[in-house]
């Protein structure tokens, strides 16, 4: 690693200076400074991003305070900005996507990590990685032309017929709306859940499985009661990652959610999300307050994903380290 140093151990200040000069002559200090500038620019750009978001949203933060998040009037003409419908839409679509993606993703990860032979597991993982690489606008196109008609004609009527007594599945079936956006998001985040959960499950020490099996549990019991609980924090990490991704997703959601600021208990209703309203209105903001309110929404999105990503990383690292530590003893 970077532990090799060129300084002589017991060198005094003069010797230190001489060695610095010799390193300068050889170009090491110059190389160090140049690469440092580039590394520092990453930090500077990130700080600048936070600064721009914070500084750019001064007006609405002072004018509306917390009522920005509690009120639902979004009126550029009269200068009233309440973000509740967008926050609601973002959270509901993300919840729907997790409701679908979590069982499917964890199930698939269990299959890949526990059952499938390594070669098949690696091949399937390769396809999952490719699925993760599909750009969101492509999901949007498929959402608009395939999922929306499918929802309108078959799935939503069927849901209404069978579960229509729930307020979730009432109202006219437009095809667009929270449910469709959630389904498209689910497809987009499944690869993240599968890849990370599979990694975490694979890091569970072999002895854990063998101990459970030798005590007479079936293969499923060993998996579900021993391996999965061991890997649980990491699996939660993968879910947080997926959630962060679902909250910030823009294009696919914009294309299928309906872009109407409505708060409705029905998942069939069209709605709006934070990312979608930014995408639609930022370049056409009618006033400074309107523009800055959109920046504040961006700030909210940034903070949410920041916290979720941080938590996810902590959980995943902790789990795989525990697996490694126990595997060695």
């Amino acid at each position: 690693m970077a532990t090799t140093t060129t300084t002589v151990p017991s060198a005094g200040p003069i010797a230190g200076l001489r060695s610095f000069l010799s390193r300068l002559r050889e170009g090491d200090e110059i190389a160090r400074m140049i690469t440092f500038l580039f590394a520092a620019s990453v930090v500077l750009l990130t700080l600048l991003l936070v600064f721009v978001l914070w500084q750019g949203s001064v007006l609405p933060r002072h004018k509306f305070g917390f009522s920005f998040f509690r009120t639902s009037v979004w009126d550029p003409i009269f200068g009233q900005f309440g973000a509740l419908p967008f926050i609601y839409g973002t959270l509901v679509t993300a919840a729907v996507s997790l409701f679908i993606a979590v069982p499917l993703g964890i199930g698939a990860a269990i299959f890949l990590a526990e059952l499938a032979p390594p070669r098949i597991s690696d091949t399937l993982e390769f396809f999952i990685d490719l699925l993760a690489a599909v750009p969101s606008v492509i999901f949007g196109v498929l959402g608009v032309f395939i999922v929306v008609p499918l929802m309108r004609q078959y799935i939503q009527p069927a849901l209404k017929h069978s579960l229509g007594f729930l307020p979730l599945f009432q109202g006219p079936a437009y095809g667009i709306g929270f449910l469709t956006a959630g389904v498209v998001l689910a497809i987009m985040v499944i690869p993240y859940i599968i890849s990370v959960s599979r990694e975490v499950l694979l890091s569970v020490p072999r002895d854990q499985r063998e101990a459970a099996l030798s005590l007479g549990s079936t293969r499923w019991e060993a998996t579900w009661r021993v391996v999965v609980p061991f890997a649980r924090p990491g699996i939660f990490g993968s879910i947080f990652l997926a959630l962060a991704r679902a909250l910030g997703e823009t294009m696919a959601v914009t294309m299928v959610i309906g872009n109407t600021p409505i708060i409705s208990a029905s998942l069939f209703s069209p709605g709006y999300s934070i990312a979608a309203v930014i995408a639609n209105e930022l370049t056409e903001a009618s006033s400074n307050l309107h523009y800055q309110s959109l920046i504040e929404l961006g700030l909210v999105l940034f903070l949410l994903t920041f916290v979720l990503n941080g938590l996810a990383r902590l959980l995943i690292v902790a789990t795989s380290q525990r697996g490694r530590a126990m595997g060695h003893t």
Binding site: T4, V42, F111, F127, L131, A133, V134, V144, F145, N309
Partner: protein, 283 residues
């Protein structure tokens, strides 16, 4: 066999089968996507798609030549901006830095990596569009380049760290200075990984739409220069897909097929390079 045991075995078999079904469903989504794109897009792709400008509404025909060139320009700018910062920053992290600086830089990169692309677009808009009062290719390249930095940086650092220390020591024992060691020993030893990292970062931003909405905007004609708005494939797909014209929908499918094809090919090539499936000529 007791009934209870039989039940447990049944549950085990059933649940394990279900996990297999989950995996099958997830993977089949990729092939469904590919199938739909090939089915709808394949019939709309023609030579004109690659060589002609978009046709006005109501006229059939036309293509997306300007968007293809625009995407190329944007990605060139993004690579020129993002890869040097990511690559040289990673060299600093892996070879020069102490613990604290490295932690801060890594933390910033991870933070940047998690920022939703729409927020990146917002940032680029207020930094590179608002002050100049016009949309430009440069601003779009800046936004995409910003997204390339963390991916390039983190993976390059990992591959540099994977180079055995013995190589470093051997080079220095021969009297080479540190930067010569880095340039002529360490980077060549890690070049497959670095190339893979850059290709994956490239593929990731090639399909990004949200940051371009506020920066490169779009253009129905050839973009006259770097300082003007330009069309790009992802934004074209978006505007054409939500427009109410059948002809535009066909074009959107075709553009989607081209874009996804490009991205998947880059991904596969990148992975093949890493797994030593393809020989990369060393300069």
């Amino acid at each position: 066999m007791s009934p209870h045991l039989r039940w447990r075995k049944f549950v085990s078999g059933f649940m394990l089968t279900m996990t297999g079904v989950c995996a099958l469903v997830s993977v089949s989504v990729l092939f469904l996507i590919l199938g739909y794109l090939v089915y709808h897009g394949g019939t709309s792709i023609s030579w004109n798609f690659f060589t002609k400008l978009p046709a006005p509404v109501g006229e059939s025909g036309g293509g997306m030549a300007n968007a293809i060139v625009g995407s190329g320009k944007l990605l060139l700018l993004a690579t020129l901006f993002g890869v040097p910062i990511g690559f040289l920053g990673a060299i600093y992290l892996a070879e020069f830095s102490g613990g604290t600086t490295a932690f801060v830089v890594r933390y910033a990169a991870d933070l940047l990596n998690g920022v939703p692309s729409i927020v990146i677009g917002m940032f680029a808009y207020s930094l590179a569009v608002l002050p100049f009062k016009h949309f430009s290719t440069l601003a779009g390249g800046f936004a995409l380049g910003l997204m390339m930095i963390p991916i390039t940086l983190r993976s390059t650092e990992e591959f540099l760290r994977a180079v055995p220390n013995a190589l470093r020591e051997a080079s220095m024992a021969l009297g080479a200075s540190k930067w010569k060691t880095i340039i002529s020993v360490i980077v060549p030893a890690a070049y497959r990984g670095i190339l893979t990292a850059i290709l994956l970062a490239f593929a990731r931003v090639a399909g990004e739409t949200a940051p371009l909405l506020f920066t490169a905007l779009g253009n129905s004609f050839w973009s006259p220069g770097w300082n003007h708005p330009t069309a790009s494939l992802p934004v074209m797909i978006f505007t054409y897909a939500i427009a109410p014209y059948d002809d535009w929908h066909r074009q959107a499918w075709a553009a989607g097929l081209v874009l996804l094809g490009l991205i998947l090919v880059i991904n596969i090539v990148a992975r093949a390079i890493l797994s030593r499936g393809i020989a990369v000529p060393r300069s």
